[in-house]
């Protein structure tokens, strides 16, 4: 319950304050969103599995976002452009799929 409220509060804050993203951070935003979604779905699944852990959730969220941003940064610096961020999207996308499938099994038994 607190979790849903916190999520909603964050969305409302973002919509109300309308922060402008600095141009330097702009390329990292989409990847950060994917990383955050991965952490959230992982947390939901752990919750349904009954093994949720606050510390693990926070750490995985922060490290996911940081590592994803670092990989994008590294790709930019190495001159391979968006190709390294493809790896982030693939890995996190596969994990999101797997976690959503597990959540679905929990909720619908199918």
């Amino acid at each position: 319950m607190i979790a849903v409220l916190a999520l909603a509060a964050g969305v409302v804050l973002g919509l109300v304050f309308k922060p402008t993203v600095p141009a330097v951070l702009e390329p990292y935003l989409p990847i950060a969103v994917v990383a955050a979604l991965d952490a959230v779905f992982g947390g939901v699944r752990a919750r349904l599995d009954g093994i949720f852990d606050d510390k693990q959730f926070v750490v995985s969220f922060v490290s996911n976002v940081l590592v994803a941003a670092f990989i994008v940064f590294l790709g930019d610096q190495l001159g391979v452009g968006g190709q390294l961020s493809v790896s982030v999207v693939v890995v996190l996308g596969v994990r999101i799929f797997g976690n959503v499938a597990a959540i679905r099994r929990h909720l619908f038994r199918a």
Binding site: I2, A3, L5, A6, L7, A8, A9, G10, V11, V12, L13, G14, L15, K18, P19, V21, E26, L29, P30, A32, V33, A36, L37, A39, V40, G42, R45, A46, D49, G50, I51, F52, D53, D54, K55, Q56, F57, V58, V59, S60, F61, V62, V91, V94, R95, I96, F97, G98, N99, A101, A102
Partner: protein, 300 residues
């Protein structure tokens, strides 16, 4: 039955199979195990954990909202910029058209006044001829209209895809060749899609478009020329005319020559004065602050 040997590259395949099989972070299971061994955490730790969880989730929501707004703003900004640019182009073009009309009206006035002033002078006829030749005056007469256009794009009958390489496309070179052939056939004045060609006119390509005097013209291209009788036949007999007839047969390009009576070709763009300047004794009311040199400007 024997067991199959372990495949080579175990590391790599393990990485991928792990990824597909265990999408959950291993840390959750480890933490649960630790909890089962050491018992539940003290209350202060649980409270901090809950706070951190709420904060992280708020951050996630914030991130989502910011990303959403970023995407929306970007899309709106792009389309708005394009619409603004298009509107500005249309507005500037309308302004330029209006100024050109004004200039034409003023030029008509000047030539009327001049004709009145020079009514008795035999030079007037020579002046008129020169103006007609150089494209400074509107001309009327009989002549020929040449219509050129691209061949219809080849469409693949199976896939329905349009072949991007259209060999029958009209290039700027084609219009140049036809204009030159018209001059050669005796044309006295030529206009392309209503734009008069003068001695300094250009027919050029910019990307896909053809520009006449830096103004884009659209298909089908119509070259109207005023010239002596039989100019249409001479054009058809010329090397260029024969060449385009072959283009019509081979590439299905559109090329038609039609004699027409009573053509009116507009005056060309004003060439602008290069060396002449308005006399310094012009009435000061006409010259604004940025006008020609004012009498008081030559103070030494």
């Amino acid at each position: 039955m024997t067991r199959a040997p372990a495949p080579p590259h175990r590391e790599a395949s393990n990485l991928l199979t792990d990824l597909f099989r265990d999408s959950l972070d291993g840390g959750y299971a480890a933490a649960a195990e630790r909890r089962a061994k050491a018992g539940p955490e003290p209350p202060w730790q649980r409270r901090t954990g809950r706070g951190a969880r709420a904060f992280a989730l708020a951050l996630v929501g914030f991130l989502l909202a910011v990303a959403y707004q970023q995407v929306v703003a970007g899309a709106a900004g792009n389309s708005r910029t394009r619409a603004d640019l298009a509107a500005e182009v249309a507005q500037r073009r309308a302004e330029a058209d209006k100024l050109a009309r004004d200039a034409e009206g003023l030029r008509d006035e000047v030539s009327r006044d001049r004709e009145q002033a020079l009514a008795a002078d035999p030079e007037l006829q020579r002046l008129r001829d020169l103006e007609a030749r150089t494209g400074l005056a509107r001309v009327q007469g009989n002549g020929v209209v040449v219509t050129v256009s691209d061949a219809p794009a080849a469409v693949d009958p199976v896939t329905g895809r349009v072949d991007p390489d259209n060999l029958g496309r009209v290039l700027d070179r084609d219009l140049q060749a036809i204009a030159n052939a018209l001059w050669q056939s005796g044309a006295e004045a030529i206009a392309v899609n209503g734009q008069r060609l003068t001695a300094t006119s250009t027919i050029r390509a910019a990307g896909e478009a053809i520009l006449v005097d830096f103004r884009p013209i659209a298909r089908p291209y119509q070259l109207s020329a005023i010239g002596p009788d039989g100019i249409d036949k001479r054009l058809a007999e010329s090397a260029t005319g024969k060449q385009f007839k072959r283009f019509v047969e081979n590439y299905r390009m559109v090329f038609e020559i039609k004699a027409r009576n009573g053509l009116t070709l507009p005056a060309g763009a004003d060439p602008g004065l290069r060396y002449a300047t308005p006399p310094p004794s012009a009435p000061p009311s006409g010259a604004g602050p940025s006008g020609g040199p004012s009498p008081s400007g030559s103070r030494r």
